[in-house]
């Protein structure tokens, strides 16, 4: 589309360290796009390159038909909401918001400032100083200061990181509302996967300077493409398996001596070594007396741990081959959770599985891919 933000083969090296590695992505105009990743994955660096605050080592950035790669920040129609807000302490709120307008010689400054303050619900704050405002208020002013310039892309660098939980939730709703109302492209950088999924139309999961997967939140969550993504967003159970054959639309898999099925449409790799994955909330537990449906994938085991969390209960069970599997059970009806030591059969509807490629050398152990906070896993 006309004013999409396009990054092509963007690379950034700091001395010997590669922060962003040959990144190519298109951010559609008017969308709410999230760059999600752990600390050090390169997401902030990418944002700063779009803003013009870092120079690219190689590659190009285009906004619509214009190549903005070599442009200084003050020549780009792009504005940033900084993580620490960076409000000018020596200017009052009105002058802060008006800063960009005045630099560009725009008329009607007072009116625009007033409108923006109305939008962020801080009307009448023109004369106050930043130090007099709370964190949440400062955050909204930082947003107003950027938005008032009607940029083609608004960049947000973990803007909600410093806020407490309740305020953060509120601001997330606010930001989404404003984006829908104003229609500007928002590029939002965050390490909080919940935040990304709630707010964004498209999420790009970054790891080690590259995008591992890009797509709408539902797609990334329900159909992850790599072990990293499957465990960075939520949790997954991954079983080392081999593709034994095909029957119709389904793949037949063997893992640890047992047989499993998964639709070919839910597989990123269709033969050889694979990971068979299923999210814990998709798994049900059948007690010894009950029967699990025959067409479900089944894993026997013994419960080793129970965590009752009110809304749901998290169970850990040990499989016959020694792997720990987690199951989230919604507490739809009141009752006692199952006790550790109970023998159960974990079962799930095959289309809820997903199948990932398992290259040689990545081992049969899945622990290396589970919830790696530093994003260090290969």
């Amino acid at each position: 589309m006309a004013d999409d933000l396009v990054l092509e083969n963007v690379t950034k090296r700091f001395g010997g360290m590669t922060a962003v590695d040959d990144l190519s992505v298109t951010v559609p105009q008017g969308s709410f796009f999230a760059l999600l990743g752990a600390s050090g994955c390169g997401k902030t660096t990418t944002l700063r390159m779009v803003a013009g605050l870092e120079e690219l080592t190689s590659g190009s950035i285009r906004l619509g038909d214009n190549d903005i790669t070599g442009l200084r920040p003050y020549r780009r129609p792009v504005n940033t909401v900084f993580q620490s807000y960076a409000l000018f302490p020596h200017l009052n709120i009105g002058d802060n918001i008006a800063f960009g307008l005045r630099q560009r010689g725009v008329k009607d400054v007072a009116k625009k400032v007033g409108e923006m303050l109305d939008l962020v619900q801080l009307s009448g704050f023109e004369k106050r100083k930043p130090a007099q405002l709370s964190g949440g208020q400062q955050q909204r002013i930082a947003l107003a200061r950027a938005l008032v310039n009607e940029p083609q892309v608004l960049l947000l660098d973990e803007p909600l990181g410093a806020l407490d939980l309740k305020l953060r939730r509120q601001m997330q709703i606010e930001l989404k509302r404003i984006q829908t109302e104003v229609g500007i492209t928002f590029l939002h950088v965050t390490h909080d996967q919940d935040e990304a999924m709630w707010m964004a139309d498209t999420v790009a999961v970054m790891n080690n300077g590259r995008i591992e997967q890009l797509g709408p939140p539902t797609e990334i969550y329900e159909f992850p493409r790599s072990p990293f993504v499957s465990n960075f967003l939520g949790q997954s159970n991954l079983f080392a398996a081999e593709v034994a054959g095909r029957s119709g639309d389904d793949l037949e898999l063997t893992a640890h001596g047992a047989r499993f099925a998964a639709p070919a449409a839910r597989a990123h790799a269709a033969d050889g070594r694979v990971w068979l994955g299923v999210r814990p909330e998709k798994v049900r537990l059948a007690l010894p007396g009950e029967d699990a449906p025959a067409h479900h994938n089944q894993v026997r085991g013994v419960l080793t741990d129970t965590c009752y969390a009110g809304v749901s209960t998290e169970y850990l069970l040990k499989t016959p081959w020694g792997q720990e599997m987690s199951v989230f059970s919604a507490n739809a009806a009141p009752g006692e959770p199952l006790a550790p030591g109970t023998e159960v059969v974990a079962h799930w509807y095959p289309p809820h599985s997903f199948v990932l490629d398992r290259p040689t050398g990545s081992g049969d152990e899945v622990s290396q891919y589970s919830a790696d906070p530093l994003g260090v896993a290969p």
């Binding site: 605050l53 003050y74 792009v78 940033t80 900084f82 409000l87 020596h90 630099q103 100083k129 130090a131």
Partner: protein, 266 residues
């Protein structure tokens, strides 16, 4: 007994305050001397005769007024130049990484640590070799030299405390480098520059040794005092000393109060 208890718990504070009192003792004495008529010209003791004469005729002694004028002139000029040069240097040191940074840091530290005798005499040798006539301007050159280091230290510290994101935010909001400097950086550094200028003024006004070496026949206020020490210091000198102290003290306090009254922002 409760007061001793408090002292024991807060002994560091007490010692500190005692030392502070020690720092002010001579100032009080200077003030007292300015109100006291000495028994004879060479006496430094407090006699029993008190008078306000000296305060009413502060320039009564010959040469005091001229010396004062010269000192103030030199101080103003040196401060102006040293502040500008020093501010430029501190921007380079605080904001950029470049080769030779360590050496520059040492080069700036050395004048602060060099004994004035050495600095003064080496400058004198330079002027003599270059056959530059000694006077007002050679003193100014010398003063700029030692004020420079103090200006750099002060402004650099202030700069280092500024959030670098503020500059980025300004550029993100369409201000180019010069506009960013003028609208964001400069206003925030100004208190540091002002402090540096004040420090520079006091150092320059106060200097004797280096000035003595490089002034030729020009007489500054400290030189006047030194010369008069042999013949008997006129008490007007104490009046001026006290007056300058009070002036500067009040000025600094006023600035402090003013900046505290505005919403504290950095």
């Amino acid at each position: 007994m409760r007061i001793w208890r408090w002292v024991a718990d807060h002994w560091v504070l007490v010692v500190g305050l005692v030392v502070l009192a020690y720092l002010f003792l001579p100032i009080v004495v200077v003030f007292l001397l300015s109100l006291n008529r000495p028994a004879n010209r060479l006496s430094y003791d407090l006699s029993s005769q008190w008078t306000l004469d000296y305060w009413f005729h502060p320039f009564g002694a010959a040469g005091v007024g001229d010396a004062l004028r010269v000192s103030v002139g030199i101080a103003l000029v040196s401060t102006l130049i040293a502040t500008v040069l020093g501010t430029l240097m501190s921007f380079a040191l605080a904001r950029h990484r470049f080769r030779g940074r360590s050496s520059t840091n040492v080069l700036i530290f050395l004048p602060m640590a060099t004994p004035e005798v050495v600095m003064g005499s080496s400058l004198l040798a330079l002027f003599v070799t270059l056959r530059v006539p000694l006077g007002f301007w050679t003193v100014v050159v010398a003063h700029i030299l030692f004020c420079l280091s103090f200006v750099v230290v002060t402004v650099k510290a202030r700069l280092a405390g500024l959030d670098p994101r503020l500059q980025e935010a300004a550029m993100d909001l369409y201000a180019n480098e010069w506009q960013t400097f003028r609208r964001v950086t400069l206003p925030l550094v100004l208190p540091g520059i002002a402090a540096a200028a004040m420090l520079s003024l006091s150092l320059s006004f106060d200097d004797f040794i280096i000035t003595n070496f490089n002034s030729g026949t020009t007489v500054t206020f400290p030189m006047y005092v030194w010369g008069a020490a042999q013949r008997g210091i006129p008490r007007q000198v104490n009046v001026i000393g006290t007056a300058v102290f009070l002036l500067a003290f009040v000025f600094v306090i006023a600035v402090q109060i003013r900046s505290r009254r505005k919403a504290r922002f950095v």
